[in-house]
Structures are given as structure tokens and as C-alpha cells.
Symmetry: C2
Amino acid sequence: MDDILKRRSIRRFVDRDVSAEAVTKILKAAMAAPSAGNQQPWQFIVVRDPASRKKVSECSAYAHSAAEAPVAIVVCGDLSREKHQGYWMQDCAAAVENMLIEVTSQGLGAVWLGVFPRQDRVDYLRKYFNLPENIVPFAVIPVGYPAQELPPADRYDENRVHYERW
Amino acid sequence: MDDILKRRSIRRFVDRDVSAEAVTKILKAAMAAPSAGNQQPWQFIVVRDPASRKKVSECSAYAHSAAEAPVAIVVCGDLSREKHQGYWMQDCAAAVENMLIEVTSQGLGAVWLGVFPRQDRVDYLRKYFNLPENIVPFAVIPVGYPAQELPPADRYDENRVHYERW
């Protein structure tokens, strides 16, 4: 599947807006992810306001792209929906990966900025958005039109593949 | 992106083999996933032997599909590659989601059987495959040609989307 292989981490964006329709398609892809017992333990905050994106970008030393992209989507875990303990991060990660592939298929770019389980980043975003206890910031996904073109990265390594036995 | 929305958990398979080429494409998709600092903390065990798949299927009460599908791929975390602590499960989850989308795009079916962090399942598979300490069984992905046809599940819920603020 081309878009899976074409997906790269895009950290620089041109000055062009992303439509509400494009964002909704990205969120539809996110919520199409599988989850443990179909618990769907996710919530999303769509941030366009530049001052707010600047604040979000300060959640870590590596999150500057959130200030530059026209949209930053904060993906959160919702522990109140947890039916199968310990799986919500996997579910949210699957949702994020779907977002990144959908982004690629639209000709947009994005990067997965890790938040959870780094407690300082979690605390910072929880405080900034004044989140309830059950909502855990998981990742920040800046989305925009790429200002950089990256070729597909061939990461396939046959040494990682074991047949029948370890 | 159609394949993201079409992906469903397929637990029943027809008696038809999956080619080595198809499996390699699935593993290429897996390894194309992003990971924290590009650490790529994953390993894969491809199991075709029926007796071995039967054993794998006994890792949990919900893993019978591993016995039925012609191939079961055991996705493992490789802690020796961990550069950013606490992120390997997210990286492996992204790899698994890529596998499921690639599977869908090939007209195959698969289901994500959760292993980590359930210690009983981790221990069982670690023992069965005699894995080194740094290799953690993360998930089992049975792959085959679907014996069930499921329509896309529309899981989009606008109540999960928050604009600018929580």
C-alpha cells in the first residue's frame, strides 16, 4: 500500500490552510482504528489558533512543528472508556498511525510528536487544556501542506523476520 | 483512504494459503511505521506450522484465529533497541496497524490479538518461543483469506472532537 510506504515525518509546512473537511477525514481515519474490545478510548482536540498552537508546541523541545503547521491535533486517551486495562495506548497509537496514512493520502504532511508516557509533557498539556483526570494527552499531530519533500524510507530489514522459531 | 475505513477484524479464514510475497509486503508495511527517534524496536516471527499455530493460539482465550489462519505473525518488541523509554509499545502498535491496512489492501483479512501488557500471555509466548529477555511478545496477527465479509464500521463520533479547547 503506497501511502504506508510514502508516509514520512513532515516537520516543515507551507503557509496554506487545511480545510475542515480534510481534518474530518483525518479524524474519521483515526476513529476507524481497531481497539481492545472496541473500547475506542480516544478524544481529539483540534487546535488552529496560532497562540494556542505556540503553547502546545512548548510541551516538549521537539514539538516546534505544532506552532508552524496550520492545525495541530492533540490525541488524548480517555481512561473512562477503558474496558481492557493497559491497552489504551496501543489503541491510540493505531488511531495516530491511521491519521498519518490518511494525511499522506491527501497530499498533506504530519509528524507524530510523542507525549505519553513522558510525565512532564502529559502534565503540561493537561494543565494547558485543563483536562479532566480521565483524559490523558497522548500525542500531538501537526498537519499541513509539506514544505519538504522526503522520498519513501525503505526500513525493511530481513534480519527482523524470523520463520517458525526465534 | 478506503483501506483504513474498510479494515475490519477478521477471525474466520478459508482454506487458502497466503504467499511468501504477500507476507513480505505485510512486513514491509510494518517496518515502514514511524517510531520514537526512528528506533524501530520490532521483531517478527512468521508462523505457518499448524501445530505451532495451535500452540500460539493458546496464548489467550481469544486467540483461536491463530490456529485457523494459514499464517500467524507474532510481533515482538525489542527492548535492546529502545532509545526513548516507554515508547516501544506505541511503535509496535503503529507497525501492527500498518500490517492490518496492508492486509486489507491485499484482499486478505487479519485480527489484532493483544498480548502485551497481559503478563500471562507475554510469559506463555516468551516461553514457547524461548525468547531472550529483551524480546517481548506484543501481539499476534493471524492472516488469511477472509471467510467472513464485514461492511466498513463507521465509528466516527463527532462528540470525540473538541475544537480549540476541551
